[in-house]
Subunit: 326 residues, 4 copies
C-alpha cells in the first residue's frame, strides 16, 4: 500500500437537482403535502423547495416541461480552489459548457455534460436558508422546525441516473470530478451499475444501464429520513391518498439502504431513504464488485421482494410505450 | 469566502480504542453476550473484539488494569503520505512518543499524547478481518453475518474524553491532526465541550470539561446501531439482566444523536447510538456554538429527561468517592 | 379453580370522554394540527373530534370551562340487556343520576357518579362515523384515510382518574360495572393505583391516589399509536412547536406501556401510547400486585428516567398553586 | 339493534399448538436460536416450548412426524362452566372425540375435529410457567427475562388453517365454539377466507381455501413481537443464516397486521407479527367483508409486494409436488 494514491476531494456534495414535470403544481403539492417540503421561491416556470434540514436555500427546483426527467444536477465544490481545479479538468474533456451567472440559491456555476449527456454544474457560492424567527428551531443544528405536514423528509440524499453506458460515465465521474467508486454491479465484465461518492456515504450519485441504450434519463432522486419506521408511515399515507408506490419498503443489498420508491405526479421516480445504510470510513476502500448472479434476492433486494421490471427499465422521460406509466 | 482555506484530511477515521477494565472477563462477556461483539484475539492481558460490520481485525482492545479508563486511541491516517505529514506536525508540539511496531490488527504506529495526557497513536497499515466461510454474509458489503446473540452493535462510532481543559485539547486536535470543529458548548467564553470530526459525521471525538480539572479520563466509547428501536431492545435486555443504564434512550440536542448510556462491568461508560443524527456535507460548515443557557432541555436533551449529574461529572478512572459507582 | 366465578362482560369499551378547557380553540388546534384528529361537530360551547381509526362519530368532546378537567366519561354497554343490568346495579348504589336523551354521537344514556364524584354515563346506541367518498380508505377496516396533518393518533385508548380513595373507586368499578382488576400498586396495604379493563387490554380505566385527597380530578386521557417510533416523531414535532412534554418517551413497568405525556393547551395531561403493551387473554388472570418498593425504576419506569413529581401530584383542575402549570 | 343477541364468550384463548416436524431438532433449534424461545420439557417424540411472555408452561409442542403439519390445536375455555357448555355443543355435532387426561402443561381436555378434520381440544386447567429465581424479571407482568438469543418473540398469537371448505368451518367455529367473525374474503358469494376471534384481536384463528380442496392442512402458526422494527431485525438475522423468508415484512389489508412469513426447518410456515394491527372493541362489530376484487394490492397487501403464489396454495403437509419446498 505504499504506493497508495492520495484521494482528490474537490466535489463536496450534491447541492441541488432540477426535476422536469409536466404537472408542476401537482408535483409541488406532492413534495409539500406528503413529504413536508417547503416552497422557498417561485420564478418563471420553476418552483424551488427545500426539506426542513436542508441548510441551503433550496435543494429541489421543479420546472415545467413537456416530459418528466432531470433538468440539471448541481454539485458544490470543496473550496474555490477546488472549483477551479475541476473546471480545468472538465475543460480537458471537451464537455464543458461554460459559466452561468448562477440561479436562485447559488452563485456562478460552471456547466457541463457527462458523456451520456446529463447536464451538470459545479459552483462554490451558495445562499443559506434564512429562517424567519417563527420558523427557527431551538435545535441550533436544525435550520427550521419540523413541519406539521405529511411525513417530512429531512434532506436531499442522492441522484441515480440511467445511462447508455455506465462504464463510461462512471470513469468520467472518477477521473474528471474525483468521485470514488464504492460498489458496482458487473455482468460478464460489463458495468451494469455504479455507486459513487465524495463522502462517507456510499453514494451521492449512481449510474444504471438504460436497457435500450437511450441517453440522458433520470432513474430517481432521493430524499432522506434516517428513521426506518418513517417509510411505513409515509407509505401508509401515500397509499391512502392514491399515490403510486412502485417499491414498498425494502432493503437493498448494494449499499444496504432501507429504501422505497414512489412516482411523483409529474412521473419522476422518487426514492425515500429510511436509514443510514452503512458508512465508509476506510480511506483505502476497495469497491465492492457484485457479479449479477450474486446480487441478492433476484435483483438487489436483501429484505424484500424482487424489484418489479419497471424499476429496472423505466427512466424519465418515459420513451418506451410498453413501460408502465403511473 | 474567496479566502476559504482548503481543509486538511490526513486522519481518516477512529480505528480502535483500548479500554482498561478491572474485570476483564466480565467486560468481555458484556460486549459479546449483550452487544453481540466477537472476540478475534487474546494476547497477554488483553482481549481484542470487533462488531459484525467492523471491517478491520478489531476495534476494541480490553486490557486488565486496576482501574477502568482508556488505554489508548488509534487513528488511521488517510494515506502513507498523510501519516508522515501528521507525524511531523505532532513532533513540532513536543508531545510525540515515537514509533511502535504495531499491535494485533495494525502495523507500525506513531504514539503521542494530547495536552491533557490521553495516549493516542496514528498509523496506516491495518489488517482486515478475514471471515471464515461459515461467517461470511451474502451481503458483500458486510464482513460477517449478523450475530444471533444479544442486540448486536454494528460498528465503532466515536470516543468522548474528559479533559482538564477542553479548549486546549480542541485546538490541538484541529491544529495538529486536522480535525474540524462541528459543535461546541461555551459558557461565558469558556469551552465546556467540543465535537470534532474528519468526516461527514458530527464527531469521531468529543471533549468534555472534567469538573475537577483532573486529567486523562474517559467519558465514553460509542458503538453504533443506526436503528432507533434497537436502543429500546437492548435497554430491555440490559434491564432484565441487571446492567446499569445511566441514561435511557434520549435524543441529544448537540449532534442530534439518538443515544443511550450504560456502564460495562469494568466501570466504563458505553454509549449506544441509535440513529444517524445528522450529516455534515457543507464544506464551509460553521461550527454550531451553543451557549450553556441555550443547550436544550436543562442539559443537552432534545427528547428525553435531563441527564443525571453523574453523566456530567463521572469519568473513568473514577477518582471522586462521591461519584456513583455502578 | 372449580369454583371459578364466571366473569361479567356488560361494559364493552370506553366510547368517549369530555374534556374541559379554558382555551377551547387552542385545544382543538392541538388535537387537529399535531395529533391529526378531525372535528366532526360543533355545538354550543363544545367541539367533537375523532381519530382516524375511531369508528364512532366522536371519541372526544371538548367543552369550554373556567378550569381544565374531565366533563364526563362515556361507556358503551355490551348489549341492550347488559345496559339494563348495569343500570340496575348502579341504582342499587344510590349513585345514579338518571337517563339523558343522548348527545351528538350516541343515544339515550344513563348517568351516574363514582364514589369520588367523577361523572360517567353508559349507553348502547351509537352513531358510526359516516365517511364521505373522498375520506374513505381502501382499507375497509379503516373508517377514514390516514390524515396528512401532524403525527396522527389512531384511536381513543383509556382514561386515568385521580381519586381521593383509589380502593373505594376500584371496588365500585369492579362490583357495579364489572371491570376486572389487572394490576395494582399498594403501599402498606393501601391501594395507590389500579388498572382495570373489560377487554384484553390492561386498562380502559386507571385510578391514582390524589395526594391531597381532593376529588374528581383527571390524571390523563390517552390516545393510541401502536407504533413506538411515532412517539419520537410526535415528541420532535411538539418540541419544535413549543408544546410542553412532561414525560418524554418512556416504558412503564405497570402495564408495560410505551408512553409519553404532554399537556394540551387547556392544561389537561394527554398520554400518547406507542405500542401494544401486553395483552391479557388468561380468563383466570390474577391481578399483578406491586408493592411500592418493587415498582421499577424509582417510580414505575422500566426504560426511562423516573417520572417527575408533577406526574404524581398534578391532576386537572389544578388546585395546588405550587404545582407546575405549563 | 334492540334484538341484538348477547355474545357467547366460552372460549378464552388459543393456548397451545402442536406442530409436526420431520426434523425435530432442527425445528427446535430454529425456535430457540433465532426466535429466542425456550424448551420447557421433552417427552417421547415431542419437545415443548414457550416464548418469554407466554404465561403458561408451553404454547408450542413439536412432535416428530414424517410430514410437516399441525398435530392439534388447544383452546382454553373461559371457565369450567364454559367448558361444559362447549363440550355439550360439540357433542351435538357428532364431531366429539372424547376426553383425554391432559398433557404436559394442561389438565383434562375434550378432543374433537372440525368439519375439515383438524384436531382440536378444549380444557380449563393449565399449568403456569414457574420461573426459577434467576429467570425472573423485575417486571412482575413478565413471566421471564427477555432472552439474549436471536430476536425473541413475545407470545403465541394465532393459527391459520387451510380447509377444503372455509364457509363450513367458519360456521362451525361460530356456532359450536362461539367465535365471532371479524373479517372475510368472498368471491362470487363463496367464502375464501375468514378471520375469527373470541377477543379484541381480529383473530385467534383464520381459515383459508385450500385450492385443491384437500383437508386438514396448516397454513401457518403466528408468534407476536408487537414492535415493527423487530421484523426487520429478525429478517436480517434469518437471511444471513440461510433461513427461507417467503414473505418479507409486509402489511396485510385484512386485519392490518404487519407481518412476515418464514418456513421453519420442518417445513411449516411461521408468521411473525410485528405490530398490534387494530383492536376491535365495538360489541356490535359488523364483519368486514372483502370482495376478492377489493382486496388491496393484488392479493391482500396494503404496504408490500403481492404475496407469492406459494403463500396462497402451499399448506403443510405439502402434497402437490409442484409447490415450492424451501
Amino acid at each position: 500500500m505504499t504506493n497508495f494514491q492520495e484521494p482528490i476531494y474537490d466535489v463536496a456534495q450534491l447541492a441541488h437537482v432540477e426535476l422536469l414535470s409536466p404537472k408542476l403544481e401537482e408535483s409541488v403539492d406532492f413534495f409539500t403535502r406528503f413529504l413536508g417540503m417547503e416552497v422557498t421561491a417561485r420564478a418563471g416556470q420553476s418552483v424551488y423547495l427545500r426539506a426542513y434540514e436542508d441548510f441551503y436555500h433550496n435543494t429541489l427546483k421543479i420546472t415545467v416541461a413537456e416530459e418528466a426527467g432531470v433538468g440539471h444536477i448541481g454539485w458544490r465544490a470543496t473550496s474555490p480552489q477546488a472549483l477551479q481545479r475541476r473546471v480545468e479538468e472538465i475543460e480537458k474533456t471537451g464537455l464543458g459548457r461554460g459559466w452561468i451567472d448562477g440561479d436562485i440559491g447559488h452563485g456562478e456555476a460552471y456547466q457541463f455534460t457527462t458523456p451520456d449527456g446529463h447536464l451538470m454544474e459545479i459552483f462554490w457560492e451558495v445562499d443559506y436558508f434564512k429562517a424567519e424567527e417563527h420558523q427557527k428551531s431551538k435545535l441550533l443544528n436544525r435550520p427550521t422546525k419540523r413541519p406539521d405536514r405529511g411525513v417530512p423528509v429531512r434532506r436531499l440524499d442522492h441522484i441515480n441516473l440511467m445511462t447508455s453506458n455506465p462504464g463510461v460515465d462512471t470513469q468520467f465521474m472518477i477521473d474528471t470530478l474525483g468521485f470514488r467508486l464504492r460498489e458496482q454491479i458487473q455482468d460478464n465484465g460489463n458495468v451494469l451499475g455504479s455507486w459513487m461518492s465524495v463522502s462517507n456515504l456510499v453514494h451521492e450519485i449512481a449510474y444504471m444501464q438504460e436497457p435500450n441504450r437511450e441517453k440522458g434519463k433520470l432513474h430517481h432522486l432521493c430524499y432522506w429520513y434516517g428513521i426506518p419506521q418513517n417509510l411505513y408511515d409515509v407509505a401508509d399515507l401515500l397509499k391512502d391518498h392514491g399515490c403510486f408506490i412502485e417499491v414498498p419498503p425494502n432493503k437493498h443489498g448494494v449499499s444496504q439502504a432501507f429504501c422505497m420508491y414512489v412516482y411523483e405526479p409529474g412521473g419522476n421516480r422518487i426514492e425515500l431513504f429510511g436509514d443510514a445504510g452503512y458508512i465508509i470510513t476506510d480511506p483505502a476502500w476497495e469497491p465492492v464488485i457484485w457479479q449479477m448472479e450474486d446480487v441478492p434476492g433476484n435483483g438487489d433486494t436483501w429484505i424484500g421482494t424482487a424489484f418489479p421490471e419497471s424499476w429496472w427499465v423505466r427512466g424519465t422521460p418515459v420513451t418506451s410505450p410498453e413501460v408502465v406509466k403511473p
